[in-house]
Point group: C2
Chain length 329, copies 2
């Protein structure tokens, strides 16, 4: 599993590399189980082989090491967390009409929107079925609540799109639901299933929330400054889709009278108006301030991790917080 990753990520994942290998086995099992239905099996192979960084299952396994034990339940949970993430990507790519994901054609691109909707449903359900195998009702409920948070976050984003009257609070509520909720659940359930005391469960839950918030803020910054080849999308893509993230919010705060985002949205799709907004952002300290906000979340996460019991997992939880920031170019 670790072979496809860069050196820094491999070092971070070292304490849980065996667990991650078993997560991959669980994911492969899912497509083998549907062997009598070759179309579905082929679709599952396609989406499960599209390897991301597996950061969510890694934090589940790391969180379970605060109170290390022989239990296999964190592996089940980590596989479920990754499956849930994959399901959301399938539906998000459908909703956004994206052709590519990590340089590979999306399901909706290859098989059409209908297959993507139904396959996403299937993968959602498969993830929930895995969680049920933990037989832990508290964990199962948190998982179901997380799916509600993820989908309501995406709905919020959709309804807020092309609106120039948003606040930072709206943005934070949205990214808390659509991104941080899964990081939080990934950490929290890893802790619960390893039998960690409530104090550590709460700490890891807050750690996960902050890590997820930082992750999304950095993602949103990369949309303003990312190399299109690396991020896989053109710069300014969020604005083109009407999505107002932190840099745009800060720009609106600076120009309350002649709101440049309003000008952009009223000109729908005008390349010059977009170029103007991007220039205004780049000619200001906005992106620095956005990084500072992400860094603030990371510092909160790191401070929590630093108070957890000593162990190799702890160094990894700390290093992930630096890693999130290093996605900066």
């Amino acid at each position: 599993m670790l072979e496809g990753l860069d050196t820094q990520t491999r070092l971070i994942y070292e304490p849980v590399k065996e667990g991650l290998t078993r997560v991959e086995e669980k994911l492969r099992q899912l497509s083998a189980d549907e062997g009598t239905f070759p179309h579905l099996s082929e679709l599952l192979d396609y989406v499960l082989q599209s390897k991301g960084k597996r950061v969510r299952p890694a934090v589940t396994l790391l969180a379970s090491q605060v109170h290390p034990g022989p239990s296999d339940l964190p592996v089940l949970m980590a596989a479920a967390v990754e499956l849930l993430h994959i399901a959301t990507l399938i539906h998000d790519d459908t909703v956004d009409n994206s052709a590519l994901r990590r340089g590979k054609a999306t399901v909706s691109n290859l098989w059409g929107q209908n297959v993507a909707v139904l396959l996403g449903d299937y993968v959602f359900a498969a993830s929930a079925t895995l969680v049920c195998d933990t037989k832990n009702v508290r964990v199962i409920r948190r998982f179901a609540e997380t799916i509600m948070a993820l989908s309501s976050g995406e709905l919020l984003e959709y309804f807020h799109s092309f609106s120039w009257q948003q606040t930072r609070q709206d943005y934070e509520e949205r990214i808390s639901r659509k991104t941080a909720s899964l990081f939080r659940t990934a950490c929290e359930t890893g802790a619960i299933l390893s039998g960690a005391p409530e104090e550590h469960v709460a700490a890891l839950s807050t750690y996960g929330h902050n890590l997820g918030m930082a992750f999304q803020v950095v993602d949103d910054i990369l949309d303003y400054e990312g190399d299109p080849l690396e991020v896989g999308k053109p710069v300014g893509n969020d604005l083109l889709q009407g999505v107002v993230t932190l840099p745009a919010l800060m720009l609106m705060e600076r120009y309350p009278v002649e709101n440049p985002i309003r000008v952009l949205f009223e000109s729908r799709g005008d390349g010059l108006a977009l170029k103007r907004v991007l220039e205004m952002v780049h000619n200001s300290t906005i992106l620095e301030e956005c990084y500072a906000q992400a860094s603030g979340y990371c510092q909160q996460a790191a401070a929590i991790a630093a108070r957890l019991p000593e162990g190799p997992y702890r160094r990894s939880l700390l290093e992930i917080t630096s890693y999130v920031m290093s996605r900066r170019r």
Copy 2:
């Protein structure tokens, strides 16, 4: 709750009418819970007020009466079953590009496909969250497996569409997943949560499966002979969408050499070819034989119900099997 229903349905639901009223309250609660997010609350009101016959929650409550007790868990389960049904309708209407459902505009028609995908996800998750409140891991797992069955059944239908090389076995596998699975789970979980002995749980599970199979076969027949105003779709709609149901399968069996369904599909969308297939079906005993098959499922369900302990619920479980057949015009 019962006021909108016809006399026959009201009589069938009589033993569980209080439970059904509480199911409605649970559904309304869902939209009230999202009061801080008016867009979502409005969407939920729209889909939850679109009243179907609530047959699935009714069978959950009836099944729970085999072993009647003071527990409120069957009500929770019944609400979850209805929510799951609503979630599948939202996604099915999106996939089928349907403009109307029970005479009312669909979510995808009013708010677009994107909102329909995300709202469906949210309602799926909300149904799972309700099931978690039963705290019964066996029931929760059956529920997650049912979502897998439903979505894989829809995927099977999609991949089998416009194929003239299908068997009755393919059809039965498909409708077992896409329709009967939820009826089965509705009955089975009602029994489990009321603390019924395993023998009755197994009996009600089989009852639900047979009822669901009959329900879908009758639905598929209505597509060949239904009044477009009543069914809400033009006659022959399934064939136009490439969906081969039992009447078409029987027609192919009768004409193995010059397969009329093949002719139809190769002419894609040719009105004359469709008319010819419909005529061939109507000039044969095919629809009678389809009803006989549906009736066979109902008889199996009724035979099981008849062996259950005496009680008002039992008469209702028996009457539902006749009711399913009476949807015939």
